[in-house]
């Protein structure tokens, strides 16, 4: 399974705005570990994960065709 990940704000500055992971990614906790390994600069960077455009507040399975987004704290307005 290849998953496509969108990133925004300062996270995008580290990962790029759009990238793929070819690893087997089980769930969002697992995703964070993989991201941390691939992008050490994410350490200490606060971000939330959205799965199919909804913020996740607990570990959430990642299945085929899931849209993943990495969202640093919002600062609109």
């Amino acid at each position: 399974m290849e998953i496509n990940i969108l990133a925004f704000g300062q996270v995008a500055g580290v990962t790029g705005a759009n990238f793929n992971l070819k690893n087997e990614v089980m769930d969002t906790d697992n995703l964070q570990i993989i991201l941390q390994q691939r992008y050490p600069a994410l350490a200490g960077m606060k971000y939330a994960i959205a799965v199919n455009k909804k913020m996740v507040h607990q570990n959430t399975p990642i299945v085929e065709n899931t849209t993943i987004a990495l969202l640093p704290p919002f600062s609109g307005g």
Binding site: F8, G9, A50, K53, F74, S75, G76, G77
Partner: protein, 146 residues
């Protein structure tokens, strides 16, 4: 989702003349007794002796528009509004320019005022938008909302 998804985003600053025109359009709705408007304006903050020249806004548009539909529903359920209009800038907005325009109208003032204030707080807290504060020397830092 049954509600219509509206686009709230505009490229660059929100023109004050557009705000005037939006107000004028409500003259035909003669059940309205009060309008409440909030405008966010980009501040020329000084951070470590450098002045903010502009903020560059980006969004996760698909998610933001879904979220706005949801927030609109929350507000319309809670307050008897006649209408509500929201515009947020994307891209570069220079210091002194308007980046957010929230406009609520109701039969009575209290509902318009309370709904506008609550909507502004929801937008700041829940809308996936990011502001990059750009300094005069082109360096930048990411804006933090309080």
């Amino acid at each position: 989702m049954s509600s219509k998804t509206r686009n709230i985003f505009v490229q660059g600053a929100i023109d004050p003349a557009f705000i005037g025109e939006s107000i004028a359009k409500h003259a035909t709705n003669t059940s309205i007794g009060g309008h409440s408007i909030f405008l966010g304006q980009v501040r020329k903050d000084v951070i470590n002796e450098k002045e903010v020249a502009a903020i560059e806004y980006t969004t996760y548009e698909e998610m933001a528009l879904e979220k706005m539909t949801e927030l609109r529903e929350v507000i319309f359920k809670k307050y008897p509004l006649t209408c509500m209009h929201i515009y947020h800038s994307l891209g570069i907005v220079e210091a002194g320019q308007i980046c957010l325009f929230v406009f609520t109208s109701a039969v009575h003032r209290k509902e318009a005022i309370d709904a506008c204030e609550e909507m502004v707080e929801l937008i700041k807290a829940d809308l996936p938008v990011w502001g990059k504060e750009i300094f005069a020397d082109e360096s930048y830092q990411w804006k933090l909302n309080k």
